[in-house]
Subunit: 170 residues, 2 copies
């Protein structure tokens, strides 16, 4: 399974995020090497940018960052890098947000459910298997064969709920 309950809480709770980023980046490099895919500078930098926080970034936010660092400043630069990362399971696209987030569990279940906190805007990945199973069952009864699912939840994370404040971007 992609992540335990602790990992959901860990995403939202304050933590040493450097460690998150390093771990994922290392795993990413390794996975790509296996697949014979190249982690070029733009791609690597794009992943690093996504990894800077647990928030999802729009393609144009990423593009601005890349452009500021000397990479191309046209939309395809960002879209291509992001698409590459998504295809190789290193990032996810959030439909509700038109945004992208680094995958924190590369190599595991690549179609997780997303939990989006409406207060801190962080995004956590949750195990989608049970959810997908329920959906596949319901659909199957109607003769529909599910191939891909999008599961995104909007809500309030434990950390924000504890603060009880209406907003916090910590």
């Amino acid at each position: 399974m992609p992540q335990t309950d602790d990992q959901i809480a860990a995403t939202f709770a304050p933590h040493d995020h450097r460690e998150c980023a390093h771990r994922v980046l290392d795993e990413a490099a390794e996975r790509l090497a296996d697949q014979g895919a190249r982690l070029t500078p733009v791609r690597r930098r794009t992943l690093e940018i996504l990894l800077e926080s647990h928030r999802a970034l729009g393609a144009y936010e990423v593009l601005d960052r890349l452009a500021a660092e000397g990479f191309g400043r046209q939309p395809p630069v960002a879209y291509r890098a992001l698409e590459f990362l998504v295809q190789h399971g290193l990032a996810h696209r959030l439909q509700r947000l038109n945004a992208f987030a680094a995958c924190l569990h590369p190599g595991h279940d690549h179609h997780p459910a997303f939990l989006i906190c409406r207060s801190c805007h962080k995004v956590a990945e949750a195990a989608a298997a049970p959810v997908r199973e329920a959906l596949t069952h319901v659909a199957g009864q109607g003769g529909f064969r599910v191939e891909r699912v999008t599961i995104e939840a909007l809500g309030l994370c434990a950390t924000c709920a504890a603060e009880d404040a209406p907003d916090s971007t910590a």
Copy 2:
């Protein structure tokens, strides 16, 4: 519950669609009257347009239709009518498609799961309760309180699967 398994199959199978549309339109008018909301000409026509098929339409497709019939030809015309319908539970927005579909079960569960056939492009509404429950449970273990969910499945409907052809727009 919003719909039975039969209703999923019914959506995808050939059927007298006039009947679908009439039934929903009547229910819609009734519901709006209860709520004191007005089903104005643009709004009514927008709903009728969505009801013409079980496919989801983009805002601009709807707009083109409205414009051709003498309504305004600027985006807000379509977006306002669509938003009104969504807010009153008469239509749904599909995140994956950036598109809208008439709700075929107004008055019931207003946050269904959507089953989108990749071949005929029809959209069916499935009972989301069990799915949402599974998600709420998983999220809850991580301390996340789910408030709204988006559940959309891409796949193949029974009718298209039976035809076994890779594509059919019937």
